[in-house]
Amino acid sequence: GALVYQYPRRTICKSGTSMRMECQAVGFQATSVAWYRQSPQKTFELIALSTVNSAIKYEQNFTQEKFPISHPNLSFSSMTVLNAYLEDRGLYLCGATANTGQLYFGEGSKLTVL
């Protein structure tokens, strides 16, 4: 079956340090990958959308300088939270779309910032 694997599931980092998270599509090829953040008690905000052979498009309030994304092939994407502070804590979710149009979400990477 198709699924999206995210790693790490949880991480704790010190304020001002960086954290890299990975998203692996298993059983399908991801033509696009979207990264979302769910801050505590909030909804999911779209950070950026990465489509193969296109530039990564960041939403308002999110920048490449803060959340650099790599999408080197059709099964893998990674995003780094640079210089993390308290407001960056939350659940980071990866959503990968297959060429069938079906969208799959991972379980998320939970970031705690001390």
């Binding site: 779209l46 979710l93 149009g101």
Partner: protein, 112 residues
């Protein structure tokens, strides 16, 4: 800009009751509408999706949702809830099914 509005932050029902979770959207063109469920501390699980055709769509675990263009709504319903249905439910809208915008979520509590 499309927006998704879930008017109820919390809904509490008893096991066996029916439930309707409301979702309204604002967008003039063709739109994908979907519902997801988030159990505590977990990721999103897909429930159902509508793009065109029959406005009543069936999802997993007995959930269904009805699209109404006139009301700009996509309410989620279940005829008889189980305690395991307790979770946060997110309504979502998208123009192309990969750039998705979520509502604020509705916390459903099912009491035994």
């Amino acid at each position: 800009t499309q927006t998704v509005s879930q008017s109820d932050a919390h809904v509490t029902v008893f096991e066996g009751d029916s439930v309707e979770l409301r979702c309204n959207y604002s967008y003039g063109g063709s739109i994908y509408l979907s519902w997801y469920i988030q159990h505590h501390g977990r990721g999103l699980q897909f429930l159902l999706k509508y793009y065109s055709g029959n406005p009543v769509v069936q999802g997993v675990n007995g959930f269904e949702a009805e699209f109404s263009k006139s009301d700009s709504s996509f309410h989620l319903r279940k005829a008889s809830v189980h305690w395991s249905d307790s979770a946060v439910y997110f309504c979502a809208a998208s123009m192309n099914n990969n750039r998705i915008f979520f509502g604020d979520g509705t916390q459903l509590v099912v009491k035994p």
